[in-house]
């Protein structure tokens, strides 16, 4: 599983919608200790789905520590979704029964939540414990599980995931009995969920025995749940990872969590979720020490990653590719747009990421692999939707052909939420604006305001979907 996430970039911000007031005399663009709006944009994209212009200004003024505290711990008052709930075809979402509404429901949380890091970590766990091809109600229940443990302890999360019906049915842990132990879950438990390597085939087989005993119950009303039946559990002696005993389910989960390879494995994967460049051995050691010292808590590790200088390296040249759902949710969030239709569902899918349907138990391939030729085309199509149906849509008659090119670009940047725009990008857009009317005779230009509107649409589209918008 080549899963290096490389990626990208700064863009503007968004949606925790009500940013704090900047301190009275704080500088607008640069807060204390070199903490700038560019840092805020970087942090909000990596730890969430972008920052609005207001958030970038406010948090730059508040400083690094306050910003990271807010991202990691959340605002007082708990999780809230800001703004009106989405309606599609004039109706509220029905995530269980309408196709695609499960995805819209989650995307909407990414767009409107005041805890973007919790949604981002829910996405991390969805990829880490990738489960697919299961009934919608069970996938939504699993999603709630990931959200409730998003930044908590790994051990309790693993114990819950092991008992989660969607996972049990996906990896055939349900109905794995002492007579017929199924190795699927035991194998992925070691390879993908906790260790990566450092275990043997025998460890897998013996762990499968330790994990036996769960039975699924079905009636003519459908699935009724998973039950543990002690008589179906193999209570014999097993030898797993060098230890010998009559291990049961929780004991084998403790064995893998306490294995020396687990901490480096998980902290490396967390790092790769947030930072494109691979971690140094020293960084892995430091993160693993934090992880162990905290009793396998995820939050302190994530905090340490979000505080690491590597996350803020080269702010002008982002290098982490936005995953499709991050790109879509971020485009909506940072432009102040809402979900009003099904288009995010098919666009996300054609960009290569369908929520609740990862391609395999190994999850998605992150990083540059998101940028296939078709995916790039679809990312460009996204700009059409946001510009035509989102907040950045162009009002008729609002723009004059006489507008100066640099002013036209400034208006477009403000209209899409004031994302960070590099000098090269701004120059290219200004050049485009300068030549936009070249094919019209000068004597006609004072009547060419309609072309000023198409220029605005084009500039906004390029800001939302151009190369600079794909990285964070």
């Amino acid at each position: 599983m080549a899963r290096r996430r490389s990626a990208p970039a700064p863009r503007a911000g968004t949606a925790a919608r009500r940013p704090p007031r900047p301190a009275a005399s704080a500088a607008r663009r640069r807060g204390s200790s070199g903490w700038t709006e560019a840092h805020v944009h970087r942090l909000f994209w990596r730890a969430g789905f972008g920052a609005t212009a207001a958030e970038a200004r406010a948090w730059a003024a508040r400083g690094r520590a306050a910003t990271i505290d807010w991202i990691v711990d959340g605002p007082p008052g708990g999780t809230k979704l800001h703004g009106p709930a989405p309606r599609v075809d004039g109706r509220k979402l029905d995530p269980v029964n309408e196709w695609g509404h499960d995805q819209l429901w989650w995307l909407d949380r990414m767009v409107r939540s005041n805890r973007p890091l919790v949604e981002k970590m829910t996405l991390f766990w969805h990829d880490h414990f990738a489960t697919s091809e299961q009934d919608t109600p069970r996938m939504l229940a699993q999603n709630r599980l990931f959200r409730s443990h998003a930044l908590g302890g790994f051990r309790p999360l693993l114990k819950q995931v092991t008992r989660d019906p969607a996972m049990q049915l996906f990896l055939s842990l349900a109905d794995s009995t002492k007579e017929h132990p199924n190795e699927n879950y035991a194998r992925e438990l070691m390879e993908l969920f906790t260790l990566g390597r450092g275990y043997s085939e025998r460890d897998v087989r013996e762990a499968a025995r330790a994990l036996t005993g769960y039975r699924s119950k079905w009636t003519n009303k459908g699935f009724q749940g998973i039950r543990y039946e002690a008589e179906e559990h193999d209570d014999g002696v097993k030898r797993i990872l060098g230890r010998r005993g009559r291990f049961g389910v929780d004991q084998v989960l403790d064995l893998v969590c306490d294995h020396p390879r687990h901490a480096p494995f998980l902290v490396t994967k967390l790092w790769q979720f947030f930072v494109a460049a691979p971690p140094s051995p020293a960084t892995v050691r430091a993160l693993a020490a934090t992880y162990r010292r905290s009793g396998l808590q995820v939050k302190p590790v994530v905090r340490q990653i979000l505080e690491h200088p590597a996350l803020y390296r080269n702010l002008a040249a982002p290098d982490l590719v936005k995953a499709p759902v991050v790109y879509i949710a971020g485009a909506l969030r940072t432009t102040g747009s809402a979900i009003t239709d099904n288009w995010p569902v098919w666009l996300s899918s054609t960009m290569g990421q369908q929520l609740f349907q990862p391609p395999s138990v190994a999850g998605w391939d992150w990083g540059p692999r998101w940028m296939s030729s078709n995916a790039v085309r679809q990312r460009f199509v996204l700009g059409n939707y946001v510009v035509n149906y989102g907040r950045p849509r162009v009002r008729r008659g609002a723009y004059k052909a006489s507008l100066r090119p640099d002013r036209a670009v400034a208006i477009a940047i403000a209209a899409v939420g004031s994302p960070p725009v590099s000098a090269a990008e701004r120059a290219a857009l200004t050049r485009l604006a300068r030549h936009w009317f070249d094919d019209i005779p000068k004597s006609w230009r004072d009547k060419a305001d309609w072309r000023a509107e198409s220029l605005q649409r084009t500039l906004r589209h390029l800001l939302i979907a151009g190369p600079g918008a794909q990285l964070c």
Binding site: D94, V96, N97, D135, V381, N384, A424, L432, P467
Partner: protein
Amino acid sequence: MVAAVPAALAVVVVTVPSAPAAKRPAASTAVGVSQREFRLTPYRTRVPVGEVRFNVTNFGEDVHDLVVRDARGRVLARSAEVRSGGRLTLAVKLKRGRYRLSCDVANHAQLGMRAGFTVVKPRGGR
């Protein structure tokens, strides 16, 4: 890199996306239905009178279909076959009463691909 973005690219920008989907009848109710070997599970088993849209997903490996019967066993609607991993919507107007859903491919119903379903008066009556 952006400097290379030319006007030719910009022309695409002006393209307006497809029109919004047609509105559904006000009384239409969606019911997710999953199929696999050999289970058929409606995610909602009581719906109000009116059009019911069965949104079927075949999570299994075999081909399946969906058949709606009334309490007497008369077939009211039958879907086309749904391939493995496929989806399909079967819309049918239903009066108050009990109904049965099944997959009629081969002996799938006997193997367990059947479920009950009830249509009730909406709150406030109609």
